[in-house]
Assembly symmetry: C2
Homo-oligomer: 260 residues x 2
Amino acid sequence: MTRPTGADVRASCRSGKLTGPTPGLAPGFVQANLVLLPKDWAFDFLLFCQRNPKPCPLLDVTEPGDPEPKTVAPGSDLRTDLPAYRIWENGELTAEPTDIRDHWRDDLVGFVIGCSFTFENALLEARIPVRHIEQGVNVPMYRTNIACRSAGRFHGPMVVSMRPLRPEQAIRATTICAKLPLAHGAPIHFGDAAAIGITDIAKPDFGDAVEIRTDEVPVFWACGVTPQAALMKARPPFAITHKPGHMFLTDLRDHELEQV
Amino acid sequence: MTRPTGADVRASCRSGKLTGPTPGLAPGFVQANLVLLPKDWAFDFLLFCQRNPKPCPLLDVTEPGDPEPKTVAPGSDLRTDLPAYRIWENGELTAEPTDIRDHWRDDLVGFVIGCSFTFENALLEARIPVRHIEQGVNVPMYRTNIACRSAGRFHGPMVVSMRPLRPEQAIRATTICAKLPLAHGAPIHFGDAAAIGITDIAKPDFGDAVEIRTDEVPVFWACGVTPQAALMKARPPFAITHKPGHMFLTDLRDHELEQV
């Protein structure tokens, strides 16, 4: 049996066979967040991503009405190739379909945004442990008091994910992740959670709490939930995102995101 | 006498004292290309830059109608702070004013784009010679047969600049420039000019020819003239750019563009 590729996972989604979460599928292939917005909201959102590249690293942006992200996955179709989606109307979640052909509009622009799985794979390959994977739970995520740079109608706090590491692991993780700017890049903070406005590290705003051992410090990375939070705040009349954990598989290999 | 800063050069432009070219002014401060476009053309252009980051590295993008690029030069004013501008109507050059207060519109979006001066300074500091500076002429630039990724109404060939180097200099130049993705990054080609569609290296499409010695190869970098060429092809009803060589001085230091 050959190892499944990003295209294999997309085909499973397209045929309706795969409707569950994607972590661990097609190892080595870049997984991505998806945001779809009407053209008249797309400039503001593109600008928001351009101004906040750590939480919103853009891998690809489609032409209005074109469901194919030609750079990262030629031949793919954003309407069918993810396992599950979320439909948003005026900032409210209204549906969680497994394909969006019935929701498609000719003015939709697709934003394919880098994801933490890429750098987590790089950490694991460097034998740096990732606690929430060890514990089999979702990564803990927190709203911070760090404001994103606003862009038109989009604004809001940076959301961060947290992984506990020993100092020497944190240092190696920093050098590894700094080479992956399209997967959130180097951490944005470590240590004192209150310094970035997190009041209780045991109570994440999204995801699950994880154990922090006495020789470890919490290390914080900019998180892909940031643009989704800005989106919910801005309340565009219509938007579609992936369902959390149900990502878009690209043809990119993890190592292709590495920069010198 | 203290060394002039980016802000000093901008103040000289604003007062009308400086209307000439900027190379060599405020050494150490990042100089930038400027493109101003109406909002209804800005999404396509932002997408063009996002898709072609080597020729079009974005340093800052302003909100529609706001003349202040807040990230790279807080307090500055794009209407007055460049020595000279070009006004374009339907792709035709119609004026070359020294300020654009009379041409300003409330729907203009400013694109501040990285420039080769930054990496040329880095090369000179590494004792790598830059021939056109030695010869006191403009850098030679060529249209290639490498197509940019199109975005809406913007498309066209990549324009490159060329500097002749010995192989070991070319290798060091590559590692130095790779760390400066916001100043066009690593070269895109070296050696055989015909391979990228350049028919006569002695006849650049823009700028001046320079000497290539027998132990040297031509080394080609993505060039900031690329977005201007795409702009002229797309013929938007209205656009403003800097006059070539008359750049926008930012508050960024050259070394701040360095990435790990």
